[in-house]
Amino acid sequence: MSEPLLRIEDLSVSFAGDQGVVHALSQVTLDIQRGRIIGIVGESGSGKSTLALALLRLLPGNLLDCSGRILLEGTDLLKLSQAQMRGVRGRRISMIFQDPMSSLNPVFTVETHLIDAQRASRPDLSTSEMRQRALEMLAKVGIPDPPAGLRAYPHQLSGGMRQRTMIAMALLTEPAILIADEATTALDVTIEAQIVALIRALRSDYAGTILFISHSLGLVAELCDEVVVMYAGTVVESGPSAAVFAKPQHPYTRALLECELDLQDGADRFVSIPGEVPSLIDPPGGCIFAPRCRSRFDRCLTAPPLIERESGHRAACWLP
């Protein structure tokens, strides 16, 4: 296989919390290929958003340590200066968030946003060319009346239209990686279906990779080529979507799927995973899932590495 677009090696991130050091990510290692839609799933506190922010080096001010390597086409993003990093954000890697209103400036029109977004990445274009591209992009993301869309202020748009605008803004910079962090979570389900259909349709035009972060296993199963399952700051399983959902290799993935109501066949008791997500302040040694794992045994006192089981399908578990 060719060199991956993005290679994450032993990425660990920790923050200073009120009660001690929070180990938000522990030795995350991942290869991400070009032109794929990768789902990153996990529950609250699994570290999926921290991973996204680390890729952009936008981690909050209480960051204590960020170690390891994040190689984007061979360049280690963690070694770049702030000035160099500005050339990556919004150009090589763009991100859309759950709440588009927090990323759109209420005093500027959509036109200003879409043109400003291009200035840095496309200095070769004139303002009228950028405006033209903005119009075409708005049509592509399904804004019904693009010229009116350009004139609108963010508050005049519905949630779905704001998210479409964010996607347009992100794609105008032709990023190698587009990160969508719970981008459809706040939307109504019929509007979510529209945005997911849009992302799927964009694939034919957009050559980059999409990192689709979500807590919804169903959404990831339907949309993504590959899936990365995170738990308490670690990657526990990764692989082709179909394989991970049909034959989960890690006990956590298996347990999580058992909790999905659609996969239970009407039994009287509902399934949950006993116990709670461990505190990231003083995480247990060994396998992080062991305290809640049905199948734990002596060896789980040592943390298992992420090992390839079948082609491209990896799991961090000592069990065969």
Binding site: T190, I191, V196, L219, C259, R269, F270
Partner: protein
């Protein structure tokens, strides 16, 4: 509502909502004539998207939203015609479980005080307090060691149990739960659903569950109502409605729900356009602007809720063909 079809006697109804209309200031019509009957020991789900009026309906049922038209009756009495002193009667009939349990518990009370508060307000004999509270601890699995802690000192899961206990301690005949699983990780959602089932089995209240989570509604309710822009567009026995939705909106809503198992996926119906503003709802059928089956008649005339299949009510001129 099916009770009407099966001619259950009105006395068997725990609650009844008739032609309920609620307008807010600024011309927003949150509910535009909703009728619902809640029989004893029945769990009813209400699903719908933003602006459908599902939360307004829930609030009207517990006496928190005075209607601008229509009726809300609990145990046969008009909730909004009660004398001031009868509030306590009302709160023994119906209780609400809120979406965010921690913020619905006063931070200045200990868990013990929080659980005793309803009993104190309702002047239950002191001798009954501890037996009732200890009953709640047992049923809901609240650890005794938490009694002297404050809400911020207990886990979210335990806080959720405390807030259910507070709703349950007076043994109301109806519990209204607004988005009870929203914000819960899947891995702990089952725990809450098991609690609700246990409460049903032991105390037998009727439950009205408002949720956008179709999987939850499908699994825990007997009957389900689908709302769109302040109207009930379809109503029926839960499993039947999920299997053979007749209203095009219900069909689209169910198809939009993401499914993990590729063998269980149905063709997606992606609705065009947006949910119109409840300030200015469309003419005729409110769903016609997004409906793939809409024809001329739907723009001009509003369909009323009628029987589209045995035991299944819907408001549609051109319903989805019935597949056996």
């Amino acid at each position: 509502m099916l009770a009407a079809l099966t001619a259950a006697s009105p006395s068997a109804l725990v609650a009844e909502v008739r032609d309920l209309e609620i307008r807010f200031g600024g011309g927003v019509q949150a509910l535009a004539g909703v009728t619902l009957q809640i029989p004893a020991q029945t769990t009813i789900g209400i699903v719908g998207e933003s602006g459908s009026g599902k939360t307004t309906l829930a609030k009207a049922l517990v006496g928190l939203r005075r209607p601008t038209g229509g009726l809300v009756r609990l145990a046969g009495r008009d909730v909004y015609a009660l004398a001031g002193g009868e509030r306590t009667w009302l709160s023994r009939q119906v209780q609400m479980i809120f979406q965010d349990p921690v913020s619905s518990l006063s931070p200045r009370f200990t868990i013990r005080e929080l659980l005793a508060e309803p009993l104190r307000i309702h002047r239950l004999p002191l001798a009954e307090h501890w037996p009732r509270i200890s009953d709640m601890l047992e049923v809901l699995g609240i650890r005794k060691s938490l009694l002297d802690r404050y809400p911020h000192q207990i886990s979210g899961g335990q806080a959720r149990r405390v807030s259910i206990a507070r709703a349950l301690v007076l043994e109301p005949r109806l519990i209204v739960a607004d988005e009870p699983t929203a914000g819960l990780d899947v891995s702990i959602q089952g725990e809450l659903l098991n609690l609700l089932q246990r409460v049903r089995q032991l105390y037998g209240p009727s439950l009205l569950v408002v949720s956008h989570n179709l999987s939850v509604i499908r699994r825990i309710t007997d009957e389900v109502g689908v709302m769109y822009l302040g109207k009930m567009v379809e109503y029926g026995a839960t499993e039947r409605l999920f299997r053979t939705p007749r209203h095009p909106y219900t069909e689209a809503l169910i198809s939009a729900n993401p499914v993990i198992d590729p063998n269980k996926r149905r063709a997606k119906i992606v609705l065009a356009g947006e949910i119109p503003s409840p300030r200015n709802p469309p003419s005729g059928c409110r769903f016609h602007t997004r409906c793939p089956r809409a024809r001329e008649r739907c723009r001009a005339e509003e369909p009323s809720l009628g029987e589209l299949a045995p035991g299944q009510l819907g408001a549609c001129f051109y319903p989805v063909p019935y597949i056996h």
